[in-house]
Subunit: 201 residues, 2 copies
């Protein structure tokens, strides 16, 4: 009995996080109200705060969930490919296709949170910084592997290129989402893949 | 007397718009509360809504002000240069330096509003779309002039390149602002200027 109640509590907590992630990712941390949260989860305020001390704690859990879900999708696509150039293309293609059907409703959680938290929300800001740093390290490690394998030119700056790829994709996501998925994202992706090809040894 | 009172009313309206622009651009349309607005302007609620029907109308005026102020700065820098390549470099440099000291506190109003409004705020969304379209047309017209002057290769796609330049800068602004002006923006700017140079005839 006791184990089953704990199990049910954990499932409710996870359901709240998943629904809150979609809501916060679409409406923003400040934009989403308690009644939005209650509507999205189908729970009363007390039912939500049974599992979280406050909105802050729920928002952090929802952000972590959104980042983990999106990362798992992109990394899964990258892992299907062999070789640094193919992996970088797969990264660009995965982010580009996520523009049309994002793993978490609302789009890229890094972009969404980065803008909202930058002046106003130090704890979320630290989490976004850490998540972006992980993405950049992931890209830089692919590039460095490519250099080690003589697939990518030895003088390519892995840190700089990881920044360029990430920034260009985020800018593309912003525009494609704002214009309701016009062909902007595919133009950006095409440009980036040409740029990635220019790094070949 | 009457003219002077109208003049004073107009000055108050403009002061409210300028203060609201800095506030909304930093905290977001949803994030900024009425008490934030009252504190920023030094006015009571009635003193603010004497000049605007509602928060929506003030937000639209503040957004237009933020875009006009930022555009005037960037265009001023571009106009100082002759030739398409030099103008494109000046555009990149102006946006890049605006990352460190933005003409309107809070950073790029297009980036800030684009993320916040995309799912939740149709009237602001239309305004952001129109403003981004104007920036892209401005960049495309510089590129087309460069093609006409044989300064830029004839097969360069002005629409696509305007998108790439704009998206890359916006992504760079997002990262540099989130990391409190690390050297990210100057790396992005350097990359873009090399890319622009590759368009030379």
């Amino acid at each position: 009995m006791r184990v089953s109640r704990i199990g049910k509590g954990k499932m409710t907590r996870e359901m709240i996080i998943a629904k809150a992630a979609a809501l916060f990712n679409s409406r923003g941390y400040f934009g989403a109200s308690m009644s939005d949260l209650m509507q999205a989860t189908g729970l009363e305020k007390g039912g939500i705060y049974n599992h979280f001390d406050n909105k802050e704690e729920l928002a952090m859990a929802a952000f972590d969930y959104a980042v983990a879900t999106t990362s798992a999708y992109v990394k899964g696509e990258v892992d299907k490919c062999d070789g640094a150039i193919a992996k970088l293309h797969a990264f660009v293609n995965a982010v580009s296709s996520a523009a049309e059907s994002p793993p978490v409703p609302g789009g890229c959680p890094l972009l969404n949170s980065a803008i909202e938290c930058d002046d106003a929300h130090p704890e979320l800001k630290e989490r976004v910084q850490a998540a972006i740093t992980r993405v950049r390290r992931f890209l830089a490690s692919i590039i460095k592997s490519g250099i080690d394998a003589n697939e990518i030119k030895a003088d390519v700056d892995a840190e700089k290129e990881s920044l360029v790829i990430f920034a260009t994709l985020e800018g593309g996501l912003m525009i494609s989402r704002l214009f309701d998925q016009t062909p902007a994202m595919s133009s950006i992706a095409q440009h980036l893949k040409e740029h990635i090809d220019s790094l070949k040894a």
